[in-house]
Protein backbone atom coordinates (compact mmCIF):
# COMPACT_ATOMS: atom_id res chain seq x y z
CA UNK A 1 0.00 0.00 0.00
CA UNK A 2 2.83 2.38 0.90
CA UNK A 3 4.67 1.44 -2.27
CA UNK A 4 1.57 2.25 -4.25
CA UNK A 5 1.29 5.72 -2.67
CA UNK A 6 4.93 6.32 -3.54
CA UNK A 7 4.25 5.60 -7.20
CA UNK A 8 1.47 8.20 -7.16
CA UNK A 9 3.87 10.89 -5.95
CA UNK A 10 5.09 12.02 -9.42
CA UNK A 11 1.48 12.26 -10.59
CA UNK A 12 0.60 14.41 -7.57
CA UNK A 13 3.62 16.64 -8.18
CA UNK A 14 2.62 17.00 -11.81
CA UNK A 15 -0.95 17.94 -10.89
CA UNK A 16 0.24 20.61 -8.44
CA UNK A 17 2.58 22.07 -11.06
CA UNK A 18 -0.12 21.95 -13.74
CA UNK A 19 -2.50 23.73 -11.37
CA UNK A 20 -0.07 26.60 -10.85
CA UNK A 21 0.71 26.86 -14.56
CA UNK A 22 -2.99 26.81 -15.45
CA UNK A 23 -3.59 29.69 -13.04
CA UNK A 24 -0.65 31.52 -14.59
CA UNK A 25 -2.32 31.39 -18.00
CA UNK A 26 -5.08 33.71 -16.86
CA UNK A 27 -2.85 36.13 -14.92
CA UNK A 28 -1.52 39.26 -16.53
CA UNK A 29 2.05 39.93 -15.39
CA UNK A 30 1.72 43.50 -16.67
CA UNK A 31 -0.93 44.22 -14.07
CA UNK A 32 1.02 45.18 -11.00
CA UNK A 33 -1.24 45.70 -8.00
CA UNK A 34 -1.17 49.37 -7.10
CA UNK A 35 0.51 50.44 -3.90
CA UNK A 36 -1.92 53.32 -3.72
CA UNK A 37 -5.18 51.48 -3.15
CA UNK A 38 -6.88 52.78 0.01
CA UNK A 39 -4.35 55.61 0.23
CA UNK A 40 -5.10 59.28 -0.14
CA UNK A 41 -4.82 60.35 -3.76
CA UNK A 42 -1.47 62.17 -4.09
CA UNK A 43 -1.95 65.91 -4.14
CA UNK A 44 -1.04 68.03 -7.14
CA UNK A 45 -1.81 71.37 -8.67
CA UNK A 46 -1.77 71.39 -12.45
CA UNK A 47 -2.88 73.73 -15.20
CA UNK A 48 -6.01 72.83 -17.10
CA UNK A 49 -5.54 71.79 -20.69
CA UNK A 50 -8.15 74.05 -22.24
CA UNK A 51 -7.70 76.97 -19.81
CA UNK A 52 -3.99 76.93 -18.91
CA UNK A 53 -4.39 79.93 -16.61
CA UNK A 54 -6.67 77.88 -14.35
CA UNK A 55 -5.44 75.08 -12.13
CA UNK A 56 -6.96 72.04 -10.51
CA UNK A 57 -6.15 70.19 -7.29
CA UNK A 58 -7.82 66.90 -6.25
CA UNK A 59 -9.12 68.51 -3.03
CA UNK A 60 -11.56 70.51 -5.15
CA UNK A 61 -13.56 67.36 -5.83
CA UNK A 62 -13.79 66.28 -2.19
CA UNK A 63 -17.27 65.13 -1.31
CA UNK A 64 -17.91 63.26 -4.53
CA UNK A 65 -16.83 60.05 -6.17
CA UNK A 66 -14.85 60.73 -9.33
CA UNK A 67 -12.39 59.16 -11.73
CA UNK A 68 -8.96 60.32 -12.77
CA UNK A 69 -8.20 59.01 -16.24
CA UNK A 70 -4.61 59.15 -17.47
CA UNK A 71 -4.47 59.64 -21.21
CA UNK A 72 -2.32 60.96 -24.03
CA UNK A 73 -2.76 61.67 -27.71
CA UNK A 74 0.15 59.35 -28.51
CA UNK A 75 -1.47 56.47 -26.66
CA UNK A 76 -3.10 53.95 -28.95
CA UNK A 77 -4.92 52.01 -26.24
CA UNK A 78 -6.58 55.27 -25.17
CA UNK A 79 -8.45 55.30 -28.47
CA UNK A 80 -9.81 51.86 -27.68
CA UNK A 81 -11.11 53.06 -24.35
CA UNK A 82 -12.30 56.47 -25.45
CA UNK A 83 -15.77 55.66 -26.85
CA UNK A 84 -16.72 54.12 -23.52
CA UNK A 85 -15.59 57.23 -21.64
CA UNK A 86 -17.59 59.42 -24.01
CA UNK A 87 -20.60 57.22 -23.39
CA UNK A 88 -20.11 57.44 -19.60
CA UNK A 89 -19.87 61.22 -19.83
CA UNK A 90 -23.02 61.42 -21.91
CA UNK A 91 -24.97 59.36 -19.38
CA UNK A 92 -23.42 61.40 -16.53
CA UNK A 93 -22.36 58.17 -14.86
CA UNK A 94 -19.42 59.67 -12.98
CA UNK A 95 -17.32 62.84 -13.28
CA UNK A 96 -14.07 62.09 -15.10
CA UNK A 97 -11.01 64.29 -14.85
CA UNK A 98 -8.36 63.72 -17.50
CA UNK A 99 -4.66 63.67 -16.68
CA UNK A 100 -3.01 64.45 -19.97
CA UNK A 101 0.29 62.62 -19.53
CA UNK A 102 3.53 63.62 -21.29
CA UNK A 103 1.75 65.23 -24.17
CA UNK A 104 1.74 68.58 -25.93
CA UNK A 105 -1.35 70.76 -25.49
CA UNK A 106 -1.83 71.16 -29.24
CA UNK A 107 -1.80 67.42 -29.91
CA UNK A 108 -4.02 66.79 -26.90
CA UNK A 109 -6.63 69.40 -27.83
CA UNK A 110 -6.64 68.13 -31.42
CA UNK A 111 -7.17 64.60 -30.18
CA UNK A 112 -10.13 65.64 -28.02
CA UNK A 113 -11.63 67.58 -30.94
CA UNK A 114 -11.35 64.49 -33.10
CA UNK A 115 -12.55 61.80 -30.71
CA UNK A 116 -14.79 63.76 -28.33
CA UNK A 117 -14.14 65.18 -24.88
CA UNK A 118 -15.62 63.10 -22.04
CA UNK A 119 -13.76 65.01 -19.35
CA UNK A 120 -15.01 67.52 -16.83
CA UNK A 121 -11.66 69.00 -17.84
CA UNK A 122 -8.16 67.70 -18.35
CA UNK A 123 -5.01 68.84 -16.60
CA UNK A 124 -1.57 68.73 -18.15
CA UNK A 125 1.27 66.69 -16.72
CA UNK A 126 3.86 67.44 -19.36
CA UNK A 127 6.93 65.98 -17.70
CA UNK A 128 5.08 63.08 -16.07
CA UNK A 129 5.87 63.99 -12.46
CA UNK A 130 2.33 63.64 -11.22
CA UNK A 131 2.22 60.39 -13.19
CA UNK A 132 5.11 59.11 -11.09
CA UNK A 133 3.33 60.13 -7.89
CA UNK A 134 0.35 58.09 -9.02
CA UNK A 135 2.52 55.12 -9.98
CA UNK A 136 1.53 55.39 -13.62
CA UNK A 137 3.53 53.09 -15.87
CA UNK A 138 1.22 52.42 -18.77
CA UNK A 139 -1.38 54.67 -20.30
CA UNK A 140 -4.35 54.55 -20.07
CA UNK A 141 -4.83 54.12 -16.35
CA UNK A 142 -7.90 55.09 -14.38
CA UNK A 143 -8.27 55.75 -10.67
CA UNK A 144 -11.58 55.69 -8.82
CA UNK A 145 -11.39 58.23 -6.00
CA UNK A 146 -13.98 58.39 -3.23
CA UNK A 147 -15.57 61.35 -1.46
CA UNK A 148 -12.78 61.46 1.13
CA UNK A 149 -10.13 61.64 -1.58
CA UNK A 150 -8.99 58.01 -1.22
CA UNK A 151 -8.02 55.90 -4.20
CA UNK A 152 -10.31 52.87 -4.22
CA UNK A 153 -9.53 51.23 -7.52
CA UNK A 154 -6.99 51.40 -10.29
CA UNK A 155 -7.64 50.16 -13.78
CA UNK A 156 -4.47 49.47 -15.72
CA UNK A 157 -5.04 49.60 -19.44
CA UNK A 158 -8.31 50.41 -21.18
CA UNK A 159 -11.58 50.21 -19.27
CA UNK A 160 -13.62 47.60 -21.03
CA UNK A 161 -17.40 47.33 -21.03
CA UNK A 162 -17.03 44.19 -18.94
CA UNK A 163 -14.73 45.73 -16.32
CA UNK A 164 -16.96 48.77 -16.08
CA UNK A 165 -20.12 46.75 -15.55
CA UNK A 166 -18.74 44.08 -13.24
CA UNK A 167 -16.25 46.02 -11.14
CA UNK A 168 -16.12 49.78 -11.49
CA UNK A 169 -19.81 50.71 -11.60
CA UNK A 170 -20.74 48.51 -8.59
CA UNK A 171 -17.81 49.98 -6.66
CA UNK A 172 -18.78 53.55 -7.52
CA UNK A 173 -22.39 52.93 -6.48
CA UNK A 174 -21.24 51.40 -3.22
CA UNK A 175 -18.88 54.32 -2.54
CA UNK A 176 -21.71 56.77 -3.16
CA UNK A 177 -23.94 55.01 -0.66
CA UNK A 178 -21.40 55.00 2.14
Amino acid sequence: MRKFALYLLPLAAFLVLAGFLLRGLSLNPREVPSALINQLAPDFKLARLAQPQETFAPAELKGQVWMLNVWASWCVACRVEHPLLVQLARSKAVPIVGLNYKDTPDAALGWLAQFGDPYLFSVTDRDGRVGIDYGVYGVPETFVIDAKGMIRYKQIGPITEEVWRSRMLPLIEELRRS
Binding site: A35, G128, I132, Y134, G138
Partner: protein, 155 residues
Protein backbone atom coordinates in the same frame (compact mmCIF):
# COMPACT_ATOMS: atom_id res chain seq x y z
CA UNK B 1 21.69 71.48 -51.77
CA UNK B 2 21.13 72.99 -48.37
CA UNK B 3 18.47 70.57 -47.25
CA UNK B 4 20.52 67.35 -47.09
CA UNK B 5 23.22 69.22 -45.20
CA UNK B 6 20.74 70.47 -42.64
CA UNK B 7 19.30 66.99 -42.31
CA UNK B 8 22.74 65.49 -41.70
CA UNK B 9 23.55 68.19 -39.18
CA UNK B 10 20.28 67.53 -37.35
CA UNK B 11 20.96 63.81 -37.25
CA UNK B 12 24.46 64.32 -35.90
CA UNK B 13 23.18 66.75 -33.31
CA UNK B 14 20.33 64.51 -32.21
CA UNK B 15 22.64 61.56 -31.65
CA UNK B 16 24.80 63.74 -29.45
CA UNK B 17 21.80 65.02 -27.53
CA UNK B 18 20.41 61.54 -26.99
CA UNK B 19 23.66 59.86 -26.10
CA UNK B 20 24.48 62.02 -23.13
CA UNK B 21 22.01 62.09 -20.33
CA UNK B 22 22.54 65.29 -18.44
CA UNK B 23 23.78 64.37 -15.01
CA UNK B 24 25.44 66.89 -12.80
CA UNK B 25 26.18 64.50 -9.97
CA UNK B 26 29.63 64.11 -8.49
CA UNK B 27 31.27 60.69 -9.09
CA UNK B 28 30.15 59.24 -5.75
CA UNK B 29 26.58 60.43 -6.32
CA UNK B 30 26.60 59.06 -9.85
CA UNK B 31 27.74 55.68 -8.55
CA UNK B 32 24.94 55.68 -5.97
CA UNK B 33 22.43 56.62 -8.67
CA UNK B 34 23.66 53.79 -10.89
CA UNK B 35 23.49 51.28 -8.02
CA UNK B 36 19.96 52.33 -7.13
CA UNK B 37 18.82 52.23 -10.73
CA UNK B 38 20.21 48.71 -11.08
CA UNK B 39 18.18 47.53 -8.07
CA UNK B 40 14.87 48.89 -9.32
CA UNK B 41 12.71 47.14 -11.85
CA UNK B 42 11.33 49.04 -14.80
CA UNK B 43 7.57 48.53 -14.88
CA UNK B 44 7.28 49.03 -18.61
CA UNK B 45 9.79 46.40 -19.69
CA UNK B 46 9.52 44.22 -16.65
CA UNK B 47 12.64 42.17 -17.07
CA UNK B 48 14.94 45.15 -17.17
CA UNK B 49 16.12 47.37 -14.39
CA UNK B 50 15.66 51.11 -14.55
CA UNK B 51 19.37 51.34 -15.35
CA UNK B 52 19.09 49.09 -18.40
CA UNK B 53 15.77 50.19 -19.80
CA UNK B 54 15.32 52.91 -22.37
CA UNK B 55 11.60 53.20 -21.74
CA UNK B 56 10.53 56.77 -21.10
CA UNK B 57 9.39 55.91 -17.61
CA UNK B 58 12.84 54.52 -16.81
CA UNK B 59 14.43 57.73 -18.04
CA UNK B 60 12.06 59.74 -15.84
CA UNK B 61 12.78 57.56 -12.84
CA UNK B 62 16.54 57.87 -13.35
CA UNK B 63 16.02 61.61 -13.37
CA UNK B 64 14.03 61.29 -10.12
CA UNK B 65 16.90 59.35 -8.54
CA UNK B 66 19.43 61.97 -9.68
CA UNK B 67 17.32 64.78 -8.28
CA UNK B 68 16.75 63.07 -4.96
CA UNK B 69 20.44 62.29 -4.52
CA UNK B 70 21.19 65.91 -5.24
CA UNK B 71 18.58 66.86 -2.62
CA UNK B 72 20.53 64.78 -0.10
CA UNK B 73 18.11 61.87 0.32
CA UNK B 74 19.43 58.54 1.52
CA UNK B 75 19.26 55.35 -0.56
CA UNK B 76 16.60 54.07 1.82
CA UNK B 77 14.46 57.17 1.32
CA UNK B 78 14.73 56.88 -2.45
CA UNK B 79 13.74 53.21 -2.57
CA UNK B 80 10.89 53.98 -0.15
CA UNK B 81 9.76 56.71 -2.55
CA UNK B 82 9.63 54.17 -5.39
CA UNK B 83 7.92 51.48 -3.31
CA UNK B 84 5.26 53.95 -2.14
CA UNK B 85 4.36 54.57 -5.78
CA UNK B 86 4.94 51.29 -7.55
CA UNK B 87 4.81 48.75 -4.72
CA UNK B 88 7.32 46.08 -3.74
CA UNK B 89 7.28 44.95 -7.36
CA UNK B 90 9.88 47.62 -8.24
CA UNK B 91 12.41 45.97 -5.95
CA UNK B 92 14.50 43.24 -7.48
CA UNK B 93 15.24 42.13 -3.93
CA UNK B 94 11.83 41.74 -2.32
CA UNK B 95 11.58 42.63 1.38
CA UNK B 96 11.24 39.91 4.01
CA UNK B 97 7.67 40.05 5.29
CA UNK B 98 4.61 37.90 5.82
CA UNK B 99 3.50 37.84 2.19
CA UNK B 100 7.00 36.96 0.98
CA UNK B 101 7.68 34.39 3.70
CA UNK B 102 7.27 31.43 1.35
CA UNK B 103 9.43 33.10 -1.28
CA UNK B 104 12.34 33.54 1.11
CA UNK B 105 11.94 30.37 3.18
CA UNK B 106 10.75 28.10 0.35
CA UNK B 107 14.24 27.01 -0.73
CA UNK B 108 15.27 26.34 2.89
CA UNK B 109 12.11 24.28 3.44
CA UNK B 110 12.75 22.29 0.26
CA UNK B 111 16.36 21.65 1.32
CA UNK B 112 15.18 20.47 4.76
CA UNK B 113 12.65 18.18 3.11
CA UNK B 114 15.34 16.73 0.85
CA UNK B 115 17.63 16.14 3.86
CA UNK B 116 14.78 14.45 5.72
CA UNK B 117 14.09 12.10 2.80
CA UNK B 118 17.81 11.39 2.42
CA UNK B 119 18.16 10.63 6.13
CA UNK B 120 15.21 8.25 6.10
CA UNK B 121 16.45 6.45 3.01
CA UNK B 122 19.92 5.97 4.49
CA UNK B 123 18.51 4.73 7.79
CA UNK B 124 16.20 2.29 6.03
CA UNK B 125 19.14 0.92 4.07
CA UNK B 126 21.18 0.49 7.25
CA UNK B 127 18.37 -1.36 8.99
CA UNK B 128 18.37 -4.02 6.26
CA UNK B 129 19.92 -7.28 7.63
CA UNK B 130 23.55 -7.83 6.66
CA UNK B 131 23.90 -11.16 4.76
CA UNK B 132 25.61 -13.81 6.98
CA UNK B 133 28.59 -15.47 5.25
CA UNK B 134 28.02 -19.10 4.27
CA UNK B 135 29.53 -21.93 6.23
CA UNK B 136 31.79 -24.39 4.40
CA UNK B 137 29.05 -27.01 4.34
CA UNK B 138 26.58 -24.55 2.84
CA UNK B 139 29.10 -23.47 0.21
CA UNK B 140 29.70 -27.08 -0.83
CA UNK B 141 25.96 -27.61 -1.05
CA UNK B 142 25.64 -24.51 -3.24
CA UNK B 143 28.45 -25.66 -5.53
CA UNK B 144 26.84 -29.05 -5.84
CA UNK B 145 23.48 -27.52 -6.75
CA UNK B 146 25.10 -25.25 -9.32
CA UNK B 147 26.99 -28.14 -10.88
CA UNK B 148 23.80 -30.17 -11.01
CA UNK B 149 22.07 -27.32 -12.73
CA UNK B 150 24.79 -27.23 -15.38
CA UNK B 151 24.54 -30.97 -16.07
CA UNK B 152 20.76 -30.56 -16.15
CA UNK B 153 21.16 -28.02 -18.93
CA UNK B 154 23.13 -30.42 -20.96
CA UNK B 155 20.42 -33.03 -20.73
Amino acid sequence: MMRPLVAVACMALSSVLCAVEPSTLDPAGARRAADLAAQLRCLVCQNQSIAESNAELAVDLRRQIDEQIRAGRSDREITDFMVARYGDFVLYRPPFKLSTLLLWLGPVLLALLALLILGRTVRARRARPVPVPLTTAERDEATRLLENGKSGDRR
